[in-house]
């Protein structure tokens, strides 16, 4: 639970931040057994996450491939033998996102990186979940956030229900036409 004063400040700061358009190719990994649902938001909606509450259809992806792999495997030691995983690239085009990974918005909110990536065991989901809920409530298509799994990494959280048009295309086959 965020104190009332802080919650009011967060809401005002986010309201002042202009939504930014976002276009990029991002990456998402899934365990092989869940390959068919690699872009599904069912698991996220059921279990909740750092930047969204249970019930919200959120799709998390990474701006760097290394970050995506770190996010999938972060609960396992580096030398733990793991079963296969799959990767997809998503070509994303969003009309309005908030950049919580950037210092301008962090400064406006009065939060630091540590407030956004602290472990869940230390109550580290409290502030990000609140900020994510605000962004979702403001109707933003998504948010850019720092990775808690890889230092310096960046993630994108797409709020699928808010997107006015198709938020992403999964890269499968490119059909080249030669002339």
């Amino acid at each position: 639970m965020i104190e009332d004063l802080k919650a009011t400040h967060f809401a005002a700061a986010l309201q002042k931040a202009p939504p930014l358009p976002f276009q990029a190719t991002v990456t998402r990994f899934a365990w092989e057994i869940h390959r068919a649902s690699i872009t599904s938001t069912v698991g996220a909606a059921r279990w909740g996450g750092r930047w969204h509450m249970e019930g919200v259809r959120a799709l998390y992806a990474s701006l760097e491939r290394e970050t995506g792999l770190a996010e999938l495997t972060h609960k396992f030691a580096p030398d733990e033998p793991l079963k296969p995983a799959s990767m997809v690239s998503l070509i994303v085009s969003l009309d309005g996102v908030a950049d919580f990974a950037g210092t301008p918005l962090q400064n406006a909110l009065g939060v630091g990186l540590r407030d956004l990536i602290a472990s869940e065991a230390d109550g580290g989901y409290r502030i990000p979940q609140h900020l994510g809920a605000l962004a979702y409530g403001h109707g933003l298509d998504g948010i850019l956030v720092p990775s808690a799994a890889r230092d310096g990494g960046h993630n994108l959280v797409i709020f699928v229900a808010n997107a006015q048009r198709t938020p992403f295309v999964v890269v499968r086959n490119f059909h080249h036409r030669s002339h």
């Binding site: 899934a30 092989e32 698991g43 996220a44 059921r46 279990w47 770190a70 999938l72 609960k75």
Partner: protein, 117 residues
């Protein structure tokens, strides 16, 4: 759920046997009863009782998810006993703590479905 997991935890009645689930997780039956909110004596006398089935099914499903990620049973049991990187909590402690079944199944659910850190 894999056939192997189903065969390992179901009794001849077709229901999930708490004793077999306890063996899977390397837990004492009394501890499993505590996790399920059951009396140890009642569960010992009736290991596949109806009231225990929903909780047992969640544990079997969680095990099945971990089978899709970790190399084998030994690795799953070892992982359950070790602190999570950048977190410090042991998955088994979550299971044995307050609201344990809910906390544990959420952890496994997030891991299995690609939940971020």
């Amino acid at each position: 759920m894999t056939t192997a997991t189903i065969e390992r935890v179901h009794s001849q009645s077709g229901r999930i046997d708490a004793k077999l689930v306890a063996e899977l997780y390397d837990l004492k039956l009394a501890k499993l009863a505590e996790i399920l909110g059951e009396s140890p004596e009642t569960l010992r006398k009736d290991v596949d009782r109806d009231e225990a089935q929903p909780g047992l099914a969640k544990l079997v499903h969680a095990w099945n998810e971990l089978e899709g990620i970790l190399a084998n049973d030994d690795h799953i049991r070892r992982w359950l006993h070790h602190p999570l990187p950048k977190d410090g909590r042991r998955p088994l402690d979550l299971l044995l703590g307050k609201d344990g079944l809910k906390q544990f199944t959420r952890l496994i659910g997030r891991i299995a479905t690609g939940g971020f850190a």
